[in-house]
Symmetry: C2
Subunit: 426 residues, 2 copies
């Protein structure tokens, strides 16, 4: 039986996070106890603690990983480095090609929380999805926990009810979550329910041994505009709610994964519904992509959806790259996608009125008014990019498009400026 207090962080972790997030320790502890904040941190790993959930900054994850078509550990290392240098907070290793353990070890060498999707490795070991049984799946989960992974995407909510609902209210794209598709294929072939659903308590026991956070996967995330209103997704929400409550009772920290492809006006109620059913568990979103026809610019479609989702309570955004739907991502795709997600996360922080985020905006206004470029770069979300663009025009003292006729310069002596204190930490 799981000890329901084991998952609580020690005092020093609590203090560090409370300081980083500008939140009182007591409140942080209460949010963790309530399952509204998680700290993905395998007991055998060392990295700065990071909190995900209510009253903390919106975090950004970046997926890396080999496939059998494109398998270069060096490329994955570069992608991970690029993601972290652009502001990502966590990495997920979704590798399916090459020496999975070696690649995972390499990704685990980065000092951030790392996640995986164990069913991918289970399928690799078995050769195909239909030969994956419960034993193999739990063995892979335990192995990855032992290796130090901090959070695992587990599609526990993809059960027979979800399967039926896919048949009764069919979707254009079927299943676009790879993990979801594996479980559906397994259930279809073996005529058994998903072991992660039927043996959820056992799963929780394994996770709690290593202090690993469950990321309850959205196997039914809609794959296109019209699928967003099919019921499979909602059947899974209900399951995820039950599992979130159960794991909380067992003292196993968890977060919830969410859609997917979703029209903008549906994001608010979907996010609220998931939050309600899961008792405000931390919510981790891929996108949502607010249009299907932006291939090449899905990072922008995802940033729009992500910002809006944060308005309603999303806590953790997964980067979508410009190569989404088109090709396997390269380093520059990861950089672009990460920046778009980091931007959306910051907009999320502004929406929840975080004083550090708002103050940084104020300081940027002041730096712009003074045409203080160094200060602007230091406050920018992407200092390197900003500096590069600015640097291409020699002696550029003015703003974009104004050139010689800078509006700010023209009137800045006519009116006094309001006072602002830049001593505040941003």
């Amino acid at each position: 039986m799981v000890n329901t207090r084991d998952y609580l962080p020690d005092q020093s972790v609590l203090r560090t996070i409370a300081q980083t997030e500008s939140i009182e320790e007591d409140r942080l502890l209460r949010l963790i106890e309530q399952g509204r904040v998680v700290i993905p941190h395998n007991t055998i790993r060392e990295h700065p603690p990071l909190a995900i959930g209510e009253a903390t900054k919106v975090k950004v994850n970046v997926n890396v990983g080999t496939s059998q078509d494109l398998c270069s550990p060096d490329l994955e290392r570069e992608k991970a480095q690029s993601a972290l240098s652009e502001g990502a907070h966590t990495l997920m290793d979704l590798s399916t090609g090459g020496d999975l353990t070696a690649i995972r070890r390499m990704i685990l060498s980065f000092p951030v929380p790392v996640g995986t999707v164990p069913v991918y490795e289970a399928v690799r070991r078995a050769g195909n999805a239909v030969d994956v049984d419960a034993d193999l799946l739990f063995r892979v989960i335990r192995d990855q926990c032992k290796e130090g992974v901090d959070f695992l995407t587990l599609h526990c909510g993809v059960n027979q009810e979800v399967f039926s609902s896919l048949c009764e209210d069919p979707r254009r794209m079927g299943v676009v979550s790879r993990g979801g598709a594996f479980h559906v294929a397994m259930m279809a072939a073996r005529e058994e329910d998903n072991p992660l659903w039927t043996e959820f308590d056992y799963l929780c026991e394994i996770l709690s041994e290593y202090g690993v956070v469950a990321s309850l996967g959205d196997g039914m995330r809609p794959g296109c505009y019209e699928d967003a209103v099919r019921e499979a997704k909602t059947v899974e929400y209900l399951n995820l709610g039950r599992l979130a409550r159960r794991s909380h009772d067992l003292g196993v920290p968890r977060m919830i994964e969410g859609p997917g492809h979703m029209p903008l006006e549906q994001i608010g109620y979907n996010v609220r519904m998931i939050k309600e059913l899961t008792r405000n568990a931390p919510l981790y979103l891929l996108g949502p992509l607010v249009t299907d026809i932006a291939a090449g610019y899905d990072h922008v479609a995802g940033a729009i959806g992500g910002a809006i989702a944060c308005k309603y309570g999303a806590n953790f955004l997964c980067m979508v790259s410009p190569s989404e739907h088109l090709a396997l991502p390269r380093v520059h795709d990861i950089a672009e996608g990460t920046r778009a997600a980091v931007l959306a996360a910051h907009v999320g922080d502004l929406l929840s009125g975080r004083p550090d985020a708002c103050n940084r905006e104020r300081l940027m206004g002041e730096a712009r008014q003074k045409l203080d470029w160094e200060k602007q770069f230091s406050l920018a979300l992407f200092p390197k990019t900003a500096r590069e663009i600015h640097g291409r025009d020699p002696e550029n003292e003015t703003c974009s498009m104004c050139g010689d006729l800078c509006a700010v310069k023209m009137v800045r002596d006519l009116f006094k400026s309001p006072d602002v204190s830049d001593s505040e930490k941003y």
Copy 2:
């Protein structure tokens, strides 16, 4: 006196637009009569008619133009070509360097509505803002109308009341609209009110002679996060409302320009407020930029703001380039910025439930399900970009990140797909 029926389009224009926009002619005519839709079309020009406003597709404008620091007509031509090939609907020539008439003639050679900001040329002719008087300003306006410009940004609402409000409720960035700054500098130096405000009826007479649309400029658009709640902007909204009603009474079509830098949660009520005060005049927005610290990614910040603004009634989005706040834009900045704005405009069309936009999403879902790449490219907002990214992986039959383990392929035979008719025009 202006004839109040002169501005109505002839039957063939009405028919063309009704078809393009999938709207009934009667309804379109009523919206034009009510001042809710405008068709920027100088009587001496020839280009396909384009409608801006309620019940029509959200349109995208791209600003081009020389400055004294960077003056190359060839570069501006390339920028304009790039903008149009990425989906922009109109161009604005904001040139301040070189032979303004020649550059304008070149931009006017593109078969789309073209706008300008006449006060820029007035300042160029006078040498500086404080030497611009009413005669010069009206002369430039008349000259540009004669040359065939379709819509003019005119900062008519920047009057003494606005000036006082800038003094009483000061803003960090003062004035960031260049046109706004010119008028403020003129008022400050000459101790006279803005002639575009005091002689608005005369202005309307000039415009109506050439069938030119007034774009009532937002000289007080906030220039940073904290300025968004200062009163100058709202004082100008009131003025723009009065001017919108007056020009409507005079039979002169007009649209309204809007913010600017604005936190996401403020966009909705600002857009609604402008719409209410101006009797639902077409609304043309720059951004809004939902954060100040995204330099290098302001096109993404603008796409987030633009999509949300469309939700509340914005009709026309001005491209923001990645070089905004940093440098004068180059061709690739224009292409990037245009694509982000076109994406936001499409999200706006989805939000208003336009059947053509929604159907295009549905067809894309179908093409993806069939892994029909040619169909996907033909439906994509940016076919060239999508094709390029897809083309870099040889024999790429699968989706991004899945590589050899494509979820869609894995389960597509397990469930039947819903029926969709692809005979519908998107």
